[in-house]
């Protein structure tokens, strides 16, 4: 029996399988060495980078919710230059594409961060976070308004020759409208979903649990919403999609593929099990082998409605 062909390509980024790690849930990669083989997965996505180092929010920053978690990390990161100097060299020796997730506190900053990454051979592509719901400035406006999103995407497009993935927010009335806007503005691929905005309350203290009051909901709880949005966008937009949201195992991942995703990202699952991404990749291949499906490509968007 020949092994199923698990390889996929997103906007020119060739991946050995469709399993990527989601931004903000896999550190800068090195944290997971010893728990999985970085060369067993399709691609790694870095923590979201900004122009300057960013402190993030006060604590508490995370809280468990039913079937999920809220985070209000506040996009703490080392900044794009430190990433290039300190984190990227290690990753260059790993034979797995590195995709850099980035955001700007202002429109201009988006362009500037993209520009700094453009010359870096170790960067296989960028993922533009227009959707982070945690920060007051930045993400929130761009990700929920089609015009603002287009401005960001156009500016980044003008500052990069790398494959550009735009990451969509689920906190919108019409995700298809946002997807089309980003496609028109020059995105090479779309990833979805980022976190749903939520809140948790400490009853006895009569206070929000998170110092930031609201945070982003991730984990299995959001999977049905994510799956719905991927399916909706897949029907409406021709770009390759990356499905994200509550993927815990290979079956979850394959459901996103059927809904129309070319690849998927593993987020919260890596907290429960630092080897999750590798196990999911392995489990997907095992499923195809068992069912005699020759290639993952044949499953993309193969849902029968």
């Amino acid at each position: 029996m020949t092994r199923p062909d698990m390889s996929v390509e997103i906007a020119g980024i060739k991946m050995r399988n469709p399993v990527m790690t989601a931004s903000g849930t896999f550190g800068y990669g090195a944290e997971f060495v010893g728990y999985l083989d970085l060369e067993s997965i399709g691609a790694m996505v870095s923590k979201g980078l900004s122009l300057k180092p960013k402190a993030g929010n006060p604590t508490p920053r995370i809280v468990e919710t039913p079937g999920g978690m809220l985070n209000a990390i506040g996009l703490q990161n080392v900044g794009v230059d430190a990433f290039i100097n300190q984190k990227l060299p290690y990753l260059k020796d790993v034979d797995t594409p590195v995709i850099v997730n980035l955001y700007g506190n202002t429109l201009e900053e988006y362009g500037e961060v993209a520009a700094r990454l453009d010359g870096q051979p170790g960067v296989a592509g960028i993922e533009v976070n227009i959707s982070c719901p945690n920060v007051m400035q930045g993400g929130i406006v761009f990700g929920t308004d089609p015009q603002a999103a287009q401005e960001v995407v156009r500016l980044v497009r003008n500052n990069t020759s790398k494959p550009m993935i735009v990451k969509l927010s689920p906190n919108v009335t019409d995700v298809v409208l946002m997807a089309k806007a980003c496609a028109d503005a020059g995105a090479d691929a779309l990833s979805l979903i980022n976190t749903l905005t939520g809140m948790a309350i400490d009853l006895d203290k009569r206070r929000p649990v998170l110092a930031n009051v609201t945070g982003g909901l991730s984990g299995p709880a959001i999977k049905p919403v994510a799956l719905r949005m991927v399916w909706q966008v897949a029907k409406a937009v021709k770009l390759p999609l990356i499905g994200i949201g509550g993927i815990m195992n290979a079956r979850d991942a394959l459901e996103f593929i059927l809904a129309g995703a070319t690849a998927i990202q593993v987020g919260t699952a890596s907290f429960l099990d630092p080897g999750a991404a590798q196990q999911i990749a392995r489990g997907m291949e095992a499923y195809l082998a068992e069912k005699g499906i020759p290639s993952i490509a044949s499953m993309i968007g193969a849902l029968e409605v």
Binding site: E31, I62, M69, Q76, M248, F271, D273, P274
Partner: protein, 269 residues
Amino acid sequence: MQFKSMVLSNVEVSPGYFRMRMTAPQELLESSPGQFLMLKVVDAIDPLLRRPFGLFDVGTFAPEYAGCGTQCYTEILYKVVGKGTKMLSALHHGDLVDLLTPLGKGFAAGPAGEEKVLVGGGIGLAPLYYLAKDLVMKGEKVRLFAGGRNRDDILCITEFERLGVETYVSTDDGTLGERGLVTQVLEQHLGSGMRIFACGPTPMLKAVALMAQSHGVPCQVSMEAGMACGVGACLGCVLKGANHTDETPDYRCVCKDGPVFDSFELQWS
């Protein structure tokens, strides 16, 4: 490391406090006191996240069944406070749990010959037993100051005494040992040539840290924070470093830079 571990025993040692012994690979003998584990209680999404617990003990035993050499174990001492620990308390011999360990940075024993002073508040005692065992094996003189609200919160003192540790017990209501805060008892004994290792509620750690600093006694504290990943990836568990300001922020991960910190590393205000 990540591994499946079998529960060997799970005993209520005091009302609401349990001590659970689990199998572990030999490599865990290389762990340091102060390091911790992240435990997945059930293979289901409720509770979703792993729960962190200090290593209470690590050692070897000879299993009862024939044909098997010595086997490594680890123990945790835990208090039932919510959903996860409640489910944990229902496990029995033979049940499986999933562990990530050893995680984080443990205690630094410090130079030989000092007096090693352990300060534990309530369940904060947990990582200090493994530390005491280690220090006693190194031939150090070890004292333990253990405090709690009442006598039910004073845990496993006999175990410490069996190691030869001199123990000082205090409770808020005087039901065991001296009446008062552990820090009050500690203050009477503070002097030079000592090194403090403390674990307990943050207000206690703050009092101990400031007291130690004013007496010029080196002090390490083991901190807590809500955690998701345990490996430094989520940035959920940070504390403010000593020089943190809103303009020049300096956050430390409890899971990776800690849980044990030198008292000077952190901001106590």
